[in-house]
Symmetry: C2
Subunit: 408 residues, 2 copies
């Protein structure tokens, strides 16, 4: 840690300068004094808060989870694969520029970008570990007459779903994550600008606080129910689990190998009701203590979960791999608060994001189990939904979806 730049530490909110593989490898270096729930690995990476865009997998899946999210789902306004390819090419160029810039909003020459090349609100901000991750919904394939991956279709309806079409679906999704919300918002907005005439935003969602992590943390961040519900997540260092449960392998089409299926669910929490529930009842519902986050039968958050010690219909027990024949997903959700609902209640909850190799061995069986019995269902409701096939990593010189669109 000797190289830790004093200046960088002193420059405010965008200080989490750990980046990519270096940050993951260095996770054990920090938090030895006192654990902190928001502490991502902070290293004096020479990259200055840059997570590489190119690689075997898209950034933003197994890479360290940033603090803030702007997620947008787009509808295409064209049936032409050529026009869509042109947009994705331009998006990729912009993404490379935005994610690699030491300062967002400056071009390769170091000069600040200006309209029409950039909207300008992020000039001078550090890259803030920005990642941009793209996926294609089932309707993308139908619209462009491209072959869908086998079995890839809209999610089934789950018991209790109350989905708003205006917050569901979309032909293309973009997940923008960064430690500075202005950097994430800026990125989506510039893709909107570039996509004008080819795609328009169908819905979008801001998330203000991550609720899980892919890097070992002393304590998992809390969701808006006050619980740590992202504890047993797949770690970025666990290549076997990633290969088994997250990355699509030879079973998928070429363009999807090394990619993943993304499920997005806007889960509204009835927090006013929850807040009038006793501590004991809340803990029974999760199967974890609230303060420490320890599973029933354990004393510390990271103690192993013994599902037989948890209440029968508790959230953690129902969703645990041991209850579902090993089913596991990589979670990457964010808390949201979007004002009020017109009835004097906060419109708040969890914007759930999960990546998996196979939806039928991932979100679908988990959500079937939860929808049927989860004690938590009294306090939550799924109000938005999307499912997307996210292509593998983008090689330098290529663009998002190139191998797929070449089939058109």
């Amino acid at each position: 840690m000797a190289d830790l730049s004093r200046r960088r530490l002193l420059t405010g909110a965008g200080i989490a300068v750990g980046a990519g593989a270096a940050a993951v490898a260095g996770a054990a270096l920090v938090n030895q004094d006192r654990p902190h729930p928001r502490a991502e690995p902070v290293l004096a990476a020479a990259s200055g808060g840059v997570i590489p865009f190119h690689g075997a997998h898209q950034a933003g899946i197994a890479t360290p989870v940033q603090d803030r999210l702007h997620f947008a789902a787009f509808d295409l306004s064209t049936d032409s694969p050529e026009k869509v390819a042109a947009m994705l090419k331009a998006w990729t160029a912009a993404a490379v520029q935005m994610t690699s810039a030491q300062e967002v909003g400056r071009g390769a020459t170091g000069a600040a970008l200006a309209p029409p090349d950039d909207t300008g609100e992020a000039i001078g901000l550090p890259a803030s570990r920005l990642t941009l991750t793209v996926g294609f919904g089932p309707s993308f394939f139908d619209r462009l007459k491209l072959p869908r991956p086998a079995g890839f279709e809209e999610l089934p309806r789950f018991r209790g779903d109350r989905l708003d079409p205006a917050r569901s679906g979309g032909d293309v999704c973009v997940q923008a994550c960064a430690d500075d919300p202005q950097v994430a918002v800026h990125a989506v907005r510039n893709l909107v600008r570039i996509g004008f005439g080819t795609a328009s935003v169908r819905w979008s969602q801001l998330g203000f606080g991550k609720t899980s992590s892919t890097t070992p943390e002393a304590q998992t961040p809390r969701n808006l129910m006050g619980f740590k519900d992202g504890t047993n997540n797949i770690a970025a260092t666990d290549r076997k689990k990633l290969d088994d449960h997250v990355w699509v392998g030879d079973e998928g089409p070429q363009w999807l190998r090394g990619g993943s299926y993304l499920v997005a669910r806007r889960i509204r929490m009835h927090i006013e009701t929850w807040d009038r529930t006793s501590l004991k009842e809340q803990e029974d519902i999760f199967g974890r203590t609230k303060r420490e986050g320890a599973p029933y039968g354990g004393t510390r958050e990271h103690d192993p979960v013994a599902v037989e010690k948890l209440p029968a219909d508790s959230h953690v027990r129902l969703a645990h791999p041991d209850s579902l024949g090993g089913v596991t997903i990589l979670r990457r959700g964010y808390s949201f608060t979007d004002g009020t609902d017109g009835l004097g209640r906060l419109d708040a909850g969890l914007f759930f994001l999960a990546y998996q190799r196979d939806l039928n061995k991932g979100f679908i069986p988990i959500q079937r189990a939860l929808a049927a019995k989860d004690l938590l269902n009294e306090y939550i409701q799924h109000v938005g939904s999307g499912v997307y096939a996210c292509p593998g990593g983008v090689a330098s010189g290529s663009y998002w979806g190139e191998a797929l669109l070449n089939q058109a």
Copy 2:
């Protein structure tokens, strides 16, 4: 800076540990290497990121501006001043606890709070410079049959206003600011919980990035138009300007002295249209350069503004004190992005907050001038509005509005 705690610097997003007067006084100490637009004064304050709640003025007005906002307007569900006083007393106790805790969500004994005393989602987070500021709308006085301050009434309708009643007004407002959004959201939510049965949320707004500051910064943060529009703000160190333009003096009722009038405006930006406007046109509209933020006629952001050198109907010229006989306000606005508007456009803009001693020598003449001629009006629309009388500082042992409610 020798006492700078290494641990605190390493603990993620909530690192801006500057606090209150110490931070203001120390503003000159930082940013000597390279200016950073998000850099608030960061000091090794022994207070650990705590801005004192008690004092001559409410915190959250002249104190250093934090990065994130949750603003909520409440409607009373009672006409009883006694019930309202009881709520404000309980709110004050909670506010003292939440703003002074070294870790939010821990009580005086250091034990983590749990339901029903706390909703729990902020356990373990640092205080993050949380401030809570309360104001009373004109309807508060009518409802409780209390004497309104002379001339205090709803704002006049301005040209171009398109106000949504569901995002306007409210009997009581709470402005929660913190460097960690989870801390700001937690604070409002706990006041909602405590107020249950006496008041309910009418509307609320999250802001993700501050657009102005009360502490001298090397560079002002940019708004979502990409411009620095908070440059000539009143500084926390400028006691004369604060006394002249922000704090209510002897002209006001006793309870309001040392307090201020707050105007909140939700200003939607038509950013898709803006983003297709040329750099030259954008700069002419503001009267400042985009990259540097220099006023026309100058070369650096903080160069003095010579209004006669600015385009006649430019935003900066129209709103400048020299154009309005010295009219000045303290701005404290935040950028927002709230998903989409159903027409494929981002619902984004500025949640404008301004404090002033006298509305008729503050927001009202400024907005009259802007509404009549501002070139920016083509790209913005005021869609929500509120005005509130914020009482003076709370003394230890007292509570928000005590002196006012004692008149009932």
